[in-house]
Symmetry: D2
Subunit: 405 residues, 4 copies
């Protein structure tokens, strides 16, 4: 047993932190001011992001998430996890390192399952950070927590496929650089349940694609990224756009899933860690009733709970990452389900307490807390609500005793 990060991880972490200190934290205000300066015209690229991307790439902090060393940094899940945590401290910073969702998951899909042609067209510019992408899965009309409910149709018509459906929570589809969608839909409603769905590549500017609206999250539009409702109306794409083959949508979804959860959870822990830092500093700097807030035992209690819960969630996530690296996604599916429930639960409580100690400032945008709360609250719903993962965990427990019960 060894809880120490590997040397390669520690080296990247050191360099990443130096970059954050030099370029990310000092630009947090700039980011928001540039966005604000756009006024209503918010769905455009924020200049500071593009400037920092150049710097990050020069610093060798680029595509860190990719385990494939020819294309990315070649880090294991366990080695990348602490880097994802660090990026989670500033929500927009992942993009600077070309490590932002949903591009990361989409790039992995293309690396694993894309044809040479698909890779040339979409993977190459994604790896360079020239374009962005979206993942169109969830639909407003059905309970998408059960992915078999998805109704978007993908129909073969000669050398093309024709796609029809309405998707929402298509995150990133608001960005003008977003050029391609991976769309999940039904190719064969009569096939067995897990062979009905396929994934297909759809250019964002294909005729028939309409962005209906953006969906706010607790009042935030998350521009220019955004969470879009997208209509696909007789969208026609060449048959070569199919990923892996008809009926293999769930197979791709499974492969895409694990690493993304590690990334999300570690970023969530990074957000919690930063909230704790803000909570402690604020409590040290404010006085109430004759002493510093941090000397009041209710805050000792909350700070201690935050520290315990963050450490616990981090260890749980690191173990899940390590298991994915050593025994694979399937054997680690219990652990992956656990962190999906645990990390947001922990972070939301820490951030909420941090909001409380900041008073009015906490709910406003003077601190990154309210926005972090809103963003992380969605994680209890996105990619399967808590209840679905709890079900998975409980069933794995039951399995242990099935023959004996």
């Amino acid at each position: 047993m060894n809880f120490e990060y590997s040397d390669v991880c520690k080296d990247y972490l050191r360099r990443l932190r130096a970059f954050m200190d030099a370029h990310i934290y000092p630009n947090e205000r700039t980011y928001h001011e540039q966005l604000k300066s756009f006024g209503e015209n918010r769905w455009q690229v924020i200049p500071v992001i593009e400037e920092l991307k150049v710097k990050a790439r020069e610093a060798g902090l680029w595509n860190l998430f990719l385990p494939d060393s020819d294309l990315g940094a070649g880090l294991s899940n366990a080695d990348y996890a602490p880097l994802a945590e660090e990026m989670g401290r500033v929500p927009w910073s992942s993009e600077v390192f070309n490590c932002a969702a949903p591009d990361t998951g989409n790039m992995e899909v293309l690396v694993r399952y894309g044809t040479k042609e698909q890779q040339d067209q979409w993977l190459t510019p994604l790896l360079k950070g020239e374009i962005r992408s979206a993942f169109l899965m969830t639909e407003p009309a059905v309970a998408s927590s059960d992915a078999t409910n998805i109704e978007c149709s993908i129909t073969r018509d000669g050398d093309d496929y024709v796609v029809n459906g309405v998707k929402w929570w298509s995150s990133g589809a608001g960005d003008p650089r977003c050029k391609v969608f991976i769309v999940m839909g039904k190719t064969d409603p009569s096939a067995e349940t897990y062979r009905q769905q396929s994934m297909i590549l759809v250019p964002a500017d294909a005729p028939g694609v309409t962005i209906l609206r953006h969906l706010p999250v607790f009042g935030y539009d998350d521009a220019p990224h955004g969470h879009m409702e997208v209509k696909l109306d007789n969208v026609r794409v060449p048959a070569s756009s199919m990923l892996l083959g008809e009926g293999r949508g769930f197979e791709i979804a499974q492969g895409r899933l694990g690493p993304g959860r590690i990334h999300h959870c570690m970023r969530t822990i990074g957000a919690a860690e930063r909230a704790l830092e803000l909570m402690v500093r604020r409590a040290m700097n404010r006085e109430a009733f004759g002493k510093r807030v941090i000397q009041h035992s209710i805050w000792e209690h909350r700070i201690a709970k935050a520290r315990i819960d963050i450490e616990s969630a981090r260890l749980l996530t690191l173990k899940a990452a390590w298991m994915m690296d050593t025994v694979g996604n399937k054997a680690a599916r219990g652990e992956i389900a656990m962190i999906k429930v645990a990390a947001p639960r922990v972070a939301l409580q820490v951030i909420d307490d941090a909001i409380q100690v900041h008073g009015g400032g906490g709910v406003s945008d003077d601190f990154p807390l309210a926005a972090a709360y809103a963003g992380i609250r969605t994680l209890r719903i996105a990619d399967g609500p808590d209840e679905v993962h709890e079900r998975t965990i409980a069933r794995l427990e039951a399995k242990r005793w099935l023959n004996e019960a």
Copy 2:
């Protein structure tokens, strides 16, 4: 002991509900669409509000909060409380009945403490719903949870007072109809602690008044109401603008406090009640894993908890209102502190569960849940954070045993 609402309360409640059914709920979408149609130019009156105000006044549902029967409906706190709950189901509806904060508190101050001149100038148009008002108390530079920290200065200069300071969370100051501020500030820093502060009337358009910015709550700007940061730079007002007399700010604050807390808490309970309704209906209408969501025992648990907690918080608030009516604010201060802590705590949990059952829709603006969460989250901070009220309650407990301990 009798838990039944009085006849007069029941009559108003019946009429209010009929009005809500006929005019408020059907216009919820209209309200948001009119606001949205303003685009960036959001700080203006929403037409549907003014239309409905006329209707409400005609229906005799106007100034219901005022216990003074010449000016308002003459209802006791206990009789008004259930009406406030009903209005709380739609956040903007209170204004339709001229029962919206902070006008209600400000009108009460003017009724109780205003001179004839002050009343003619400000109370009369407020009662008519022609103008709105703001209450400028909290300051960004100090821990305002301890109101003795407030630093804004009010200095006598000949026949005038000169006001200097920066206030924030001045709710409603974003509205173009907001014509007057009640400002808390120090007239005599050398007086004993609770005699240093005064309250003074300041016209919103007085020279030296600058709205610096609006403060979002989570991502909501709450336009056109808004929560503003306001600079008062050598703002000069006639000496007759002083309320009650120099050094009597805390006295006024005390008198203003109790009823406002009842209103806030009952509206909060109304919001929780509506969230529960939405939660139940959604759980009845969605299927997951082969049965309706409401048949899953985790939702039975959450719905039951919501019902228990809402009933409890309502009874606690009604009792506080009844005590204010029967034994007065001072004797009821423990109960008032209790509801200030309990009502938001209950409502936030109910709304959070309601969000969860709505999936992606829950965090967006397709349902009124995320906005309700954000708004009510501020109540754990505004008007004294939880910790201050808990301190009050604990001290009252200690007093019971002081001579015996």
Copy 3:
């Protein structure tokens, strides 16, 4: 709306409190010492109880629970509730006033459904406090939370019924004065579900009755009351022992239920109230890190929460009692389910915090806290576990929207 107790309630409460001060609290130690002095031979009457019963009867504090004024005090549920709370402060005190479970419920059954003969034989001595009784319902072999599962058989044989089964958690059956059991069992397994069960009177000394063992609650045996496992092996009783008629067991159970829940919940609130008193006093009297424990904000927080939660649970229970009095058990079934869940939940948290502030003393028997915790923990299970009542509450919520959903 009026939260004041009635005059008759206040008068009884004043007299009850005086009695508690004069006779109960001063004898708490005596009670435990007398019990302890029995050593292993614990299943016998504790002398101080019998002495105090005489005094209570003389003081007119006897059979207070009975709404029938010829037999008891003639108090409504709402008027009796505050008295039950008061008794709940000392677990054994109810018996002093002949207001202890399960006798209260059993007496109510006999008053409502007993024949003259049954009443003469069993009700009269119960009302005089000469004998005690038990209620045999739950069985070890089945999930008794669903009462239709109960398997004990009651078979007609000539002029007799023959009873066979094993019951457990037969509280009070350990007491040598316990002379009669009300037994629930199946008379007709082929009848429709809710007509299969009957209730029958069985003398405790009938041939075939064997007390198999006592069941401890945590480490408490609750002697001499006790919670017994009882075997009924071909127990023969005259046919006149049947209550109300064959197949009417559920009807009786329903009638027995409501008032008993009010009693239990109010006693639970009394226990919570006492725990809060102990918590506050202890926190006032101990120093840690340079100041009194009560001045530490974590204890302000816990004390405030305790006060809020106790007040809320009390109001909820009083409202349930008032509804039973005014609209009946059936219309109040939601409220009765709510208090069944809420009161133990609140009390357990308050008692747990009180234990914490007492340190080592808290878990021992130097204070009545650990024993109260153990006793009240059973209430989340007994008489239907939380989950069953939450189900009831959720279904009532669903009903409200059924036609509209």
Copy 4:
């Protein structure tokens, strides 16, 4: 980073589990029956324990806790931790492997700080499992959470020390085999705060030692181990009984502390793990409302939460153990404080849920749940209450920002 247990740990774990399966679980009933058969005469050795000790020693499962390989198994904290967890599944099993508190801590003290003479007299028979020991620290008269409050006096008188004081929660002092106490007391009240206290060896049968009473824990006497209140009345011991030297009591306490917390926390996790197993099995085997309890989503939720929380607490504890092994107790003091708060918190919730699913059986002694709850509840108080450890954690957080705040 590597979450795999070491080979030596895995080997011991395999053998320990085999021993548990072969000898401990099959004797759980025997243990309780033998104890029960003693009746009132409970403070004597339970035969099965002595029989199993022989077997365990033969199996090479003896003194596993001792890092010193000449005397014990020579395992690191990280390697011993999983073994402690395993033993925690059956509370009395640790003693079988001579790994029970407080002997383990006392042996460590003697190994580290004892003279040859002290070791010959007390360590040797303790290592052989021939005698047992107690640790006398806490006092009823003072808030012992602040150890500087301890008042027991140890006065030099010629070649002897004379000890006077009253101690309580002297666990294990009820056992007839308990032959020696380590007593903490003041040798020099005028010294600086952390040099006033010393530790001294006192034979259990020294004149002046009186066991005043045993302290129950939620009704359990924990015989024959027990938690005793002990009077030391002019107890005279030779000066050579002093440990390490006058004024070094805190130094010894510090050294004794870390490993003991790892042991306690891992045993606590073992108890939680077993409770989860019982909860899952019960939920699989019982039906309610037409399906198995485990298929109800409220139990999926509770089981998942239990699994997440147990995994988290285990990882946190293993990391604390690993830090103690690699960077030492002092650097690990934050982690040690964290597990002291986290492990009991987690276990109590899991056990409480397990009790709930067992219904009446859960609070009785038919399952080991209620007893586990009671025992673990004391851990939130013993060895410093939660609040003290939370204070430590919060202060360490503050230190991180002290120069920057």
